[in-house]
């Protein structure tokens, strides 16, 4: 019963309702749009705020072996999940090797907004979580991209992984901002956060609502314009893969000894699919892969699934095994 209460509460939260508004507006062909510069500004704010808060969390708790363990686990999970996703895609769909490798890379990497939405659920429930999970999120952005390129290159694609591409992937703007804000939060600690609290903490939920409105618009537009690219097999994969990834995150979080909040966050990271860093990398590295498949699947299927059903499931499971 508690699960259904939480799921209902989550569905009626402002962030989910704004996402639904954007999604419905796009499907109804409304002219509602968020200008590109505003969307990028909102995304910069969210990365900045979540990075600072995570760094402050580590300043309070100190560097423990759990931090190193979580980062190492995040790296391994991000690198490994694409192989599983690729195998599943080859069974469930008729995607080409290149398309399947590109999609798989998205599922090993993470969606920082899904992560932020889970922190919002945890805050709402009064469940604390480890601040260093923000660093784990940053660590999990890139390894999946390299795994996807490895899968493609060993299965027939002639695309080589260049040093230039690795540089672009490792220093992409979201990683730099997230890690940079995390370090600044760690250095300045609670005293530093207190000085910028009015900007970092109070407006956070409102900005998140606006960002999710934009995500809803993008997801709805993607679904509307996917022109039949989304087969039943792909849609099933887009809903099943988050649950499979979540199982790995859940088990790893439990093995690491994370708190209930930490387990819920690691589970969410493993369940989410990227739609910022990985699509850009795939356009450069695997141009033959069809962007309307991986973008629509990640943003139009998996993101809404996680937001509306996944978060409640992952939190309930984390609470079950984390106590």
């Amino acid at each position: 019963m508690e699960f259904f209460a939480l799921a209902g509460q989550n569905l009626l939260s402002p962030i989910v309702l704004f996402f639904v508004l954007g999604f419905a507006a796009a499907l109804a062909r409304s002219d509602l749009t968020v200008p590109e510069a505003v969307a990028k500004g909102l995304s910069i704010y969210l990365l900045f705020a979540i990075g600072i808060k995570g760094g402050v969390g580590v300043a309070e708790s100190g560097l423990t072996p759990l931090v190193a363990g979580s980062l190492a686990a995040g790296f391994v999970l991000s690198a490994a999940i694409p192989f599983l996703a690729y195998a599943l895609l080859r069974v469930m769909t008729r995607l080409s090797v290149t398309d399947a490798a590109a999609v798989a890379g998205h599922y090993g990497s993470i969606s920082i907004v899904t992560f932020v939405a889970m922190t919002s659920v945890l805050d709402g429930q009064g469940v604390p979580f480890e601040g260093h999970m923000v660093a784990a999120a940053a660590v999990m952005e890139a390894p999946a991209i390299l795994s996807a390129l490895f899968i493609a290159s060993t299965r027939g694609s002639d695309r080589a992984v260049s040093g230039e591409l690795i540089h672009e992937v490792m220093l992409n703007s979201s990683i730099v901002l997230l890690v940079g804000s995390f370090i600044i939060g760690w250095i300045t600690g609670p005293a530093g956060l207190e000085r910028i609290e009015a900007f970092v903490v109070s407006p956070f939920q409102g900005v998140l609502c606006l960002f999710l409105l934009d995500m809803g618009l993008l997801a709805g537009r993607g679904i509307r314009e996917s022109r039949g690219n989304l087969t039943l097999g792909l849609i099933a994969f887009g809903c099943a893969m988050p649950l499979i990834g979540a199982a790995f995150g859940l088990g790893t979080g439990w093995l690491l000894g994370l708190s209930t909040g930490g387990i819920a966050l690691l589970t969410t990271l493993c369940a989410s699919a990227s739609y910022i860093a990985v699509p850009a990398a795939m356009r450069v590295a695997l141009p033959e892969a069809n962007p309307s498949i991986y973008l629509t699947l990640s943003l139009g299927i998996t993101f809404p699934f996680n937001l509306t059903a996944g978060l409640a499931i992952y939190f309930a499971l984390a609470r079950m095994i984390g106590g």
Binding site: T33, V34, P35, E36, A39, K40, L42, S43, E164, E168, D214, L217, L218, R221, E225, S226, R227, Y275, I276, A277, P279, A280, A281, M282, R283, V284, P287, E288, N290, P291, S292, L295
Partner: protein
């Protein structure tokens, strides 16, 4: 007013590739170029718009180069090397310029 023959190369390219294209154009001796944002469009890969995009993956941009006819071929080849496997358009048209020395780096001005 006296004008001089020049070539105008227009490259519409996926936004994530802009840095790579700029580097190759510099190496190929482009006298300069202008990057313009692109709002929206539609092509063989379907419609797209820059509205609301937080990832560069969904965006396109235009690179304009005005150059001397002698340099145009090398720049077209450099541009096509980047665009060839990707979504994009490379085109070249004749144009007239007033100050030809600005568009030919070998003259030392520009």
């Amino acid at each position: 007013m006296r004008t001089h023959a020049a070539k105008r190369i227009e490259i519409i390219i996926e936004a994530p590739l802009l840095r790579r294209l700029s580097r190759l154009l510099d190496e190929a001796g482009a006298p300069g170029y202008t990057v313009l944002p692109v709002l929206a469009g539609s092509g063989v890969s379907g419609p797209w718009t820059r509205d609301g995009q937080v990832s560069a993956a969904g965006g396109m941009c235009t690179v304009l180069i005005v150059t001397s006819p002698e340099k145009a071929e090398a720049l077209m080849e450099a541009a096509f090397e980047v665009v060839e496997p990707h979504i994009g358009i490379v085109s070249m048209t004749d144009c007239q310029v007033v100050r030809p020395q600005l568009f030919d780096r070998s003259s030392g001005e520009g």
